[in-house]
């Protein structure tokens, strides 16, 4: 209010300020306003156009709120809405419709109506909705209030809810059976369940039960009907379908339990049966995709252990069959390598390189390699020998290294490494001494690999052998440089000086060297001892070989002979074309009888016949006579006469094996005594545990018991009289 200044001539007016008077409301204001609103609400509910303008209604609500009539208005509105909801739902219940789809559509319609109407009402009562529930505790917003009543009345009519849920489940079932359904309808109904908070308790449970029952039935139906691979793929498809279903119309929280139900019905109870029925075939046919699927499915149901065991068992079975196949043992190592390669590929491609699977594979391969005692070690040594031999077919250096690496990977699993060493050493000696090694580099590479696997102690002797060869080459050169010509210059001597202990033992051969060779040998001995005094040289004739020039009727040849063969042949120089009897030859060369017969057989009965035997035949008999075969014809200038190597046979292998076994006994004895000396007293079980830790070759408890008993007998140990299964060390 503003005081106005009077005109210049007028009398001054008094300024009066009156108190503000609130306009009085008409007495029926509240009721009249409500009636107007009620009419509008009913119009909305009955889907009629609202008579008053929305603006007017909005203002009316605002007025009511301004005049503190919010509570009463809310109560009236609530009553109005509740009645309508109840009516609407009753209508649903009474409408008997046999077709579930139609029923669902009606439910859906009712729900949509409810939502639309609630929204409309809320818009009208916006001021009320924005003020009253916010300021008053325990009063819900209009939307929630509507939902609350809908839920309440729906629950009061169990038929409707059950029918609705049943209808939805029926649709789901139909979809699973391959029908096309109206997904949006289901999506809306599920949204309704969710909004009404009945999803978890009224819908999800039955859904999961249904799912379990459906898939359990499917599992029994399909399990016998289709192959394992197909079944797994089917399971995978089903899982994909269900995930899609969740995405399309179910609530996200259902995803986990739903997939779990599928797993539990289709996979968990059949995991073992599936493995039993089809795993071997899958592996044998190398169906990596199927196996990968299997791996991922089994990992979801926590059955990887079963899969792992099945795989290990498969590898063991297949591998052991290979190892135990005595007939085909020649090709064992390549076959084992192939098996290992296949397994590793499977491990990478199907089993995601999982660590436990890797362990299982290693364990299985170890069991396979050791499924048969001793023989695999020998075969592996032979395998390396074949690779390193000069006449081995093979590609470049990289290939050789690749193959050696593969062999080493098997060697790693071998428990009888000492046996391997014995056989390997024998072959290596042969390669080195007879010059049959393909590449020294490859030889050294392998030794370095063995060293990396087993430590320097293991390869000490092997390295010593290489060293001997190198020193011998130098020595031979030095000998030639120092040798004064003694009329023997036409004989060229090459020697290998072998350190005892590094090399395999060779049986000594008795023979009478011809004087020329004797002189040469003596000179070398003198030369060697002059360089290294105090050493002892023993000549190993079993390994010696000579190149001898021989004049046959047709042409001259060079013959490559063993020392024994040479000695025999040289006898015929003095014989003057005469035939020599077996006895004469025996006294001439001084060879032991069995050895002599073998030598003569190689000279007279082999492919290249330097001697002629009379009478002819494959065996050498006492009365036979031999003469020089003057008419020998051969296209090569230098001829190799093969020796007959009886010793390179089962007998020899057996001896090597026997030697290793005896060595092992000493090792066991030493380990027992060492342990008992340290511990003084120990129970049988503990002693065995200690021994298994210390001893690195395959052992059975009986092997150990035998040694323990032997030590008791020899009074290194005694049984503890107070505790019969304990031993005491006897100092």
């Amino acid at each position: 209010m503003r005081a106005r200044q009077a005109g210049t001539g007028g009398a001054a007016k008094k300024l009066v300020i009156k108190p503000l008077r609130a306009p009085s409301l008409p007495a029926d204001f509240e009721l009249a306003t409500w009636h107007k609103l009620q009419a509008a609400v009913r119009a909305v509910h009955e889907k009629r156009p609202v008579e008053s303008s929305l603006e007017e209604l909005y203002r009316a609500v605002e007025d009511l709120c301004t005049h503190k009539m919010a509570a009463a208005t809310y109560a009236r509105l609530e009553h109005e809405c509740e009645q309508h909801t109840e009516r609407a739902l009753r209508q649903l219940a009474s409408a008997s419709s046999s077709d579930p789809s139609a029923f669902l559509a009606r439910v859906h319609g009712a729900w949509l109506d409810h939502c639309q109407q609630s929204l409309m009402i809320r818009s009208i009562f916006l001021v009320l909705d924005r003020t009253y529930p916010l300021q008053t505790a325990g009063v819900r917003s209009l939307w929630d209030m509507g939902l609350q009543h809908f839920r309440h009345h729906l629950l009061a009519l169990p038929d409707v809810l059950v029918k609705t849920v049943g209808g939805v489940l029926l649709h789901v079932q139909r979809e699973r059976q391959g029908e096309v359904i109206e997904r949006s309808l289901l999506a809306n109904l599920v949204r309704m369940f969710n909004a009404l908070q009945v999803y978890a308790e009224r819908f999800e449970g039955p859904l999961l039960e249904d799912t379990a029952a459906f898939y359990a039935a499917e599992a029994t139906r399909l399990l016998d009907a289709c192959a394992v691979g197909d079944y797994l793929r089917h399971v995978d498809t089903r899982l994909g379908d269900e995930a899609g279903r969740v995405h399309a119309y179910l609530h996200a929280s259902t995803r986990k339990p739903l997939l779990a139900a599928v797993h539990a019905a289709l996979l968990t109870p059949h995991a073992e049966a599936l493995l039993e029925r089809g795993f071997d075939a899958l592996v044998e046919e190398a169906r990596h995709a199927d196996l990968r699927l299997m791996y991922s499915l089994y990992s979801h149901v926590g059955k990887l252990r079963l899969l792992k065991e099945a795989w290990a068992a498969h590898v063991k079975r297949v591998g052991s069959a290979l190892v135990l196949d005595v007939e085909g043992e020649a090709g064992l190592i390549p076959r084992l390598l192939e098996l290992k390669r296949a397994c590793e590929e499977l491990h990478v491609r199907a089993f995601e390189r999982a660590e436990p699977f890797g362990y299982a594979l290693r364990e299985a391969l170890e069991a396979v390699v050791n499924a048969r005692a001793n023989r695999p070690a020998e075969l592996l040594a032979k395998f390396f020998d074949a690779q390193l031999r000069a006449n081995a077919k093979g590609g470049g250096e990289e290939d050789v290294e690749h193959v050696l690496d593969a062999g080493i990977s098997l060697f790693r699993y071998l428990s009888g490494k000492d046996l391997f060493e014995a056989f390997y050493k024998k072959d290596l000696a042969k390669r080195l001494l007879l010059g049959r090694s393909a590449h020294v580099d490859a030889e050294k590479l392998l030794v370095s690999k063995l060293k990396a696997e087993c430590g320097a102690g293991f390869t000490n002797k092997l390295e010593g052998m290489f060293k001997d060869c190198e020193l011998s080459a130098e020595l031979t050169a030095a000998f030639h440089a120092a040798a004064p010509p003694l009329g023997l210059s036409d004989i060229e001597l090459s020697t290998h000086v072998l350190t005892t202990g590094f090399w395999p033992p060779y049986p000594p051969i008795e023979l009478n060297l011809p004087p020329q060779l004797c002189a040469l040998q003596e000179r070398f001995t003198a030369f060697y001892l002059g360089k290294h005094s105090g050493r002892r040289l023993t000549w190993v004739h079993a390994l010696g070989h000579c190149v001898v020039r021989a004049q046959f009727a047709a042409r001259a040849h060079e013959l490559q002979l063993s020392t024994a063969q040479t000695v025999v042949c040289l006898l015929f120089n003095d014989a003057q074309q005469r035939a020599l009897s077996l006895r004469e030859i025996a006294t001439g060369c001084g060879l032991e009888d069995k050895e002599l017969r073998l030598t003569l057989q190689s000279l007279a009965c082999g492919k290249v016949r330097v001697l002629v035997k009379e009478p002819r035949g494959r065996e050498v008999d006492d009365g036979d006579a031999f003469s020089f075969h003057d008419g020998l014809q051969h296209k090569l200038h230098r001829i190799r006469v093969n020796t007959i190597q009886l010793r390179e046979t089962a007998e020899e292998a057996e001896q090597t094996e026997l030697k290793v076994c005896v060595d092992r006994q000493y090792q066991i004895d030493a380990a027992i005594v060492r342990t008992m000396k340290a511990r003084k007293a120990l129970s049988h079980t503990l002693l065995l545990t200690e021994l298994y830790e210390q001893l690195k070759f395959p052992l059975t408890p009986v092997d150990l018991k035998k040694r323990i008993e032997s030590l008791i007998d020899r009074e290194y140990l005694e049984r503890d009289p107070r505790a019969p299964s304990s031993y005491r060390y006897l100092a």
Binding site: H684, E709, R719
Partner: protein, 220 residues
């Protein structure tokens, strides 16, 4: 050994006189070798005391005298041994031997240290019966000794074990350890070997014996 002797020494009425020992020694000593009683002497002694040479009581005597060689007693063994036993005549000696044997046998059934005497006696038998310079007792003697010593206590085990050895036709005899373990087995394992605890420490011979018994039981 010492402890056991002590037990019996207390029970005996009094040590035998050295004179009695000397009398016997003079009577039975080997005329060709003054230092020992030989097989003939032992045979004569057995005849005089009224026992078979293979009687268990003679073994008891050998044990008590700590004889080192079957069929022989040295002078030292004879005099030292007689000093510890109580007898001054042959009938008294026989009675003493019978009593000692009964007491040993009786003790053997006890599970506590009372069995030590029999254990000693049993261990002695292996030492006493095996051939000179051999570690093993040949199977035939072993079976005979077992049936004499162990049969009164564990007849079934002895019978089965003998059968087993016959079947195996074992060549290299029984060593001391196996011999002693058999005794332990008799004491702790039932006749049918059903409670044989294969804790691994039994000698292989006994493992195999048990397997044999169990196989036979199965066969029936």
């Amino acid at each position: 050994m010492k402890r056991v002797k002590g037990v019996f020494a207390r029970k005996s009425p009094g040590p035998s006189t050295p004179k009695f020992a000397e009398q016997l020694w003079d009577k039975y000593k080997d005329p060709k070798n003054a230092e020992s009683i030989g097989p003939e002497g032992v045979e004569a002694f057995c005849a005089d005391i009224g026992l078979e040479p293979s009687d268990v009581h003679i073994l008891v005597l050998a044990w008590r005298l700590d004889a080192s060689r079957m069929g022989y007693f040295t002078h030292v063994e004879w005099t030292n041994g007689f000093a510890k036993l109580s007898a001054s005549s042959l009938p008294e000696l026989k009675a003493w031997l019978e009593r000692t044997y009964q007491e040993t046998l009786h003790g053997a059934k006890a599970m506590h240290s009372g069995a030590d005497a029999f254990r000693n006696f049993y261990a002695f038998a292996h030492r006493y019966c095996r051939d000179d310079n051999k570690r093993n007792l040949d199977c035939e003697t072993a079976c005979a000794m077992m049936s004499m010593m162990v049969s009164p206590l564990y007849p079934k085990h002895v019978e089965q074990f003998t059968a087993y050895l016959m079947k195996m036709n074992r060549q290299h005899g029984i060593n001391q350890d196996e011999w002693m373990c058999f005794w332990e087995l008799c004491r702790s394992v039932k006749d049918d070997c059903s409670n044989y605890a294969d804790d691994g420490a039994w000698p292989i011979l006994l493992d195999e014996y048990v397997e044999f018994v169990q196989q036979q039981a199965k066969g029936k």
